[in-house]
């Protein structure tokens, strides 16, 4: 079995796990958001690569191409990217508010302040 032939799945899985790790393990809220962003980007890659057909062209008729890639996953991901941007904007906005209220963006320090 050609393991490297489907290398884009490896890229997807590794990127997903790096992002997931950052979300779970990092205490800095900005780093968490970066991790979340990576996590989502990995899924975008999964969608975009699955629609590709080797040697195929964009689905435009009349230019001599015989095989076409599936454009639908890319369209779906366009929507998902917009969702990702909105989430990121809202998340960053929240971090700004947290910094204003607590003076810190480290999760452990914030928890310490709330305990008192």
């Amino acid at each position: 079995m050609d393991i490297l032939g489907i290398y884009h799945y490896w890229v997807f899985a590794i990127l997903l796990m790096i992002g997931f790790y950052a979300v779970i393990a990092k205490l800095n809220l900005i780093k968490k958001l970066i991790g979340l962003s990576l996590f989502q980007a990995a899924v975008f890659l999964l969608y975009i690569t699955m629609g590709n057909v080797e040697g195929a062209s964009a689905p435009i008729f009349g230019y001599g191409a015989e095989t076409f890639s599936n454009p639908l996953p890319q369209v779906l991901i366009l929507t998902a990217i917009v969702v990702g941007i909105s989430t990121m904007a809202l998340g960053l906005g929240l971090v700004v508010r947290i910094k204003e209220e607590y003076g810190s963006i480290e999760e452990d320090e914030i928890q310490e302040m709330d305990r008192r």
């Binding site: 979340l36 989502q40 996953p73 929507t79 909105s86 989430t87 998340g91 929240l94």
Partner: protein, 495 residues
């Protein structure tokens, strides 16, 4: 009936969605609230219309923009959808009507248009999740409603609302992204996003492994969104620090909408097609449901903050719904869907009562409400009624769904008695934590004796919910008919 009737499924989503940007433009005092309330009531009226159409058992479909399924987006309304639509729009309307003063005390005047726009978007998103028959469309609506509810939760007066919202955002996004991965895997293998089409094509797929992985991703992702134990950690803080009225709205319907998507995927798409999936569904989710019931109730018993206590009680109640569904029988599914309805009534009532109490006393700890029942007799009487319904006392709505759940457990060949014991024990735990509220409110030493003024609208709406709790306990025909039909529909896809 009239020309609009076939378009009702689309209107259910479009009306609140289009009103949201309009509400942002309203600047005069109270106008944003009035517009949001009117829109919400209109959505509730649409939901009632839809319920009357589908209650007989024939589902209603709508092709968005006349593009035929499976290529276009299809909206699908059946009895289960109607039940959820009633919950979402009803909870929103009730919370908005009663919540004017309570929200005005927390949200500054210049932010009100934005706040109510976010409320309408949350409403539109949840209605969209429920009516949509397209897997990717569900994801988009899920994110619309989630992003809007993050904004609503972050509006809480306490600064701890902010870290709570941040946690909610992180976990909500992970849940939605997991769902997206699952949908991607299914699309890769079947080439379709339409749920009905998916159901047919999934079992033609030669290699079932990606589908199995998709089932895992979708189940975990939606379990996060639905706060199924042990993925509930975002819920207590989000509910505790959100504005009281927002808590009443979200507690009544937000997690149930995700649970609904989970049921639809597990029963419509995966159930009949994956070998042994019936076994897996029950085998993985039943232990989690049981643990959720026990842990949620136990933590609630020892919690001093009332809102947090009720939030943990929600974790337990979600466990009941999962338990009913994981039995995969007609009675079990009836109990699960019926409990969605009845729990929304009871928990919505309780949180509305907390909102009323919070208009008078600062803070929502047990020590804050000591003796307050003497100052607010009507409010606390309604709280007790909703509490009794949560416990499941005969004559209240909560009893009906627990009765069905116990019947469903007794239908089991083995272990049924243990499940009944579990349900009884956790109901006793509910008696304990509701009693702690009653004890503090009725027998505590009040700080002052003068009668407190609670907004009339809030008390009236609170009593409307309390009476609904009793009404649906004595005459449960409507939710029962909807849940029984819903159970039939879900099981109809299993054979």
């Amino acid at each position: 009936m009239n020309a609009l009737t076939p378009h009702l499924p689309a209107l259910q989503v479009i009306v609140p969605m289009l009103m949201a940007p309009f509400v942002v433009l309203l600047r005069a005092r109270s106008l944003p609230w009035a517009a949001a309330t009117a829109t919400s009531l209109l959505a509730f009226a649409i939901a009632i219309q839809l319920t009357m159409i589908v209650i007989g058992g024939t589902p209603m479909t709508y092709q968005m923009g006349s593009w035929a399924a499976p290529y276009g987006i299809e909206l699908h309304v059946d009895a289960l959808t109607a039940l959820l639509l009633l919950l979402v729009t009803g909870a929103s309307s009730v919370a908005l009507i009663g919540g004017r003063e309570s929200l005005a005390a927390i949200i500054s005047e210049d932010r009100e248009p934005l706040f109510f726009a976010a409320w309408l978007l949350a409403l539109a998103g949840m209605a969209g999740i429920v009516v949509s028959g397209d897997a990717f469309n569900i994801f988009v609506f899920m994110e619309i409603s989630s992003l809007a509810s993050y904004v609503l939760v972050a509006g809480g007066p306490d600064r701890r609302a902010l870290p709570a919202t941040f946690k909610y955002l992180i976990m909500g996004t992970i849940g939605a992204t997991f769902y997206l991965i699952g949908v991607g895997l299914i699309y890769m293998m079947t080439g379709t996003l339409n749920l009905a089409d998916m159901e047919l094509r999934v079992h033609e797929v030669a290699d079932q492994k990606p589908i199995l992985a998709a089932a895992g991703f979708i189940t975990v992702g939606l379990a996060l969104k639905a706060a199924i134990f042990p993925l509930h950690v975002w819920l207590p803080n989000a509910y505790t620090y959100a504005p009281h009225i927002v808590t009443a709205f979200l507690a009544a319907c937000a997690t149930k909408v995700s649970l609904y998507v989970l049921l639809r995927f597990d029963f419509f798409v995966f159930q009949q097609n994956l070998i042994g999936h019936e076994f897996q569904f029950a085998a993985y989710l039943m232990p989690l449901a049981i643990l959720g019931i026990l842990v949620g109730s136990a933590v609630a018993m020892f919690e001093r903050n009332i809102k947090r206590m009720l939030a943990f009680s929600s974790v337990a109640q979600i466990g009941y719904m999962m338990l009913g569904a994981s039995l995969v029988t007609a009675t079990g599914l009836t109990a699960a869907t019926l409990h969605m309805f009845n729990h929304a009534l009871a928990k919505g009532g309780l949180f509305l009562a907390i909102a009323a109490v919070a208009m008078v006393v600062a803070g929502s700890r047990l020590s804050d409400i000591a003796g307050q029942a003497r100052r607010m007799p009507w409010t606390f009487a309604a709280l007790v009624v909703a509490g009794l319904s949560l416990i499941g006392i005969p004559g209240t709505a909560g009893f009906i769904s627990k009765w069905y759940l116990i019947n469903a457990a007794l239908e089991l060949e083995t272990g049924g008695v243990a499940l009944v014991a579990l349900i009884l024990v956790s109901s006793l735990m509910a008696v304990v934590y509701i009693w702690r509220i009653v004890e503090a409110a009725y027998f505590g030493e009040p700080t002052s004796d003068e009668p407190a003024r609670v907004p009339m609208a809030l008390v009236v709406i609170l009593w409307a919910v309390a009476i609904a709790n009793i009404g649906f306990g004595i005459a449960p025909e409507l939710p029962l008919a909807l849940s029984a039909t819903a159970a039939d529909i879900l099981l109809g896809h299993v054979q």
